[in-house]
Symmetry: C2
Subunit: 216 residues, 2 copies
């Protein structure tokens, strides 16, 4: 049974691979699982059919057999748990990889989401220029702590895992802000992940959707 | 081997149970696992010994045998996975419960964290009064979607699970804002969870720490 996920028909990131389907595509590629993609417009995302799958009206969703789930962290974890390649077999190492998955989503991503809110929803507000340095500082503190923990290792805990996949996916959201580049070991960590063949395949697949949507 | 967690020696919430050790205490109580607590001051939290356990210098941490992890979502999941009582046995139901665990932390909690930042770190900033309604609106949208999905069910997906434990823990952070009360079924959902004997035991345990710290 080939799983089906949903993704933006016209991603607002213009093919840069920053939407949350990219994490899921990447996980599928890492474990060698074929998948199908159903593209949805912004209108379809808020319509009852999609809201039945995803109560918060977002992408991605995941359907396989009788199972339907919707949270990108849970989808990536489900893929990792039902295939070899993204989680260590040994119980403690597995728990530590899962710990990094949660740390990416719940400790590192929240200030990055605040930055996105400031740059998108509050871009034209009079306070945004004054708030941006405060948000940058909060992100800088988190990245400094992450950089110190990673030190000169290739990955956060032994072999590449679902924790690295999600951490890199979160760091990528900082895009051209220059915040990651302040920590050379984090910039190298992201580049190392982006060089993985599975990442490249996932990136090309989402980029093809952008090209098709833009008539390319 | 009794697991050891860390918690604030003097919690900034003055015994209201809003710090992240509460989620972990509650999970231990639900599954009937005894645990030990090591209290840390704010200074100790940023010192090398604690930063070795928790690279972001926060609480809680979890140590059991040779395993040390630090993210509250991962700790609660580890407890749920190694004991009966917080995750269904059937694979698809289990994946859906885990989906709600991630949804609580990564979809519902982020705007609530933005509210906390506005009320604490930016309380005296000139823009905060104008930003608060925007943040309230964002939270209101999320809660409305959650309320619609919960409808008149007792829990998010069948029996009480780790997903409900985390969702309630996140909703509690809205405290006296009145935002949860706008959705009677969510208010009843939180009250239903807080009436669980395991929740009461966990709450009393963290409250005892507050009383001791305040000389009570």
């Amino acid at each position: 049974m080939t799983p089906t996920i949903t993704a933006f028909k016209a991603s607002p990131d213009r093919g840069r691979g920053l939407a949350r389907d990219m994490r899921v595509r990447w996980a599928f590629e890492e474990v060698g699982q074929a998948y199908e993609v159903r593209l949805v417009t912004f209108e379809e995302m808020k319509a009852p059919a999609h809201m039945g799958l995803h109560p918060f009206g977002q992408i991605p969703t995941y359907e396989a057999g009788g199972l339907a789930i919707f949270e990108s962290g849970a989808i990536v974890f489900q893929i990792a748990q039902t295939h070899a390649g993204l989680l260590p077999a040994e119980a403690d190492a597995r728990a530590r990889a899962i710990n990094w998955l949660f740390a990416a989503l719940n400790t590192v991503e929240p200030p990055i989401l605040e930055l996105q809110t400031a740059l998108l929803a509050e871009r034209d507000k009079p306070w945004t220029q004054e708030r941006l340095p405060m948000i940058h500082d909060a992100i800088h503190v988190r990245l400094g702590q992450l950089s110190a923990r990673l030190a000169d290792a290739d990955w956060l805990d032994g072999a590449f895992s679902v924790g690295d996949l999600m951490m890199v996916s979160v760091l990528q959201r900082l895009g051209s802000s220059g915040l990651v580049a302040e920590f050379p070991n984090l910039a190298a960590y992201v580049a190392r992940a982006e060089a993985r063949p599975a990442y490249r395949r996932a990136f090309e697949a989402q980029y093809a959707v952008f090209l098709a949507a833009s008539g390319g």
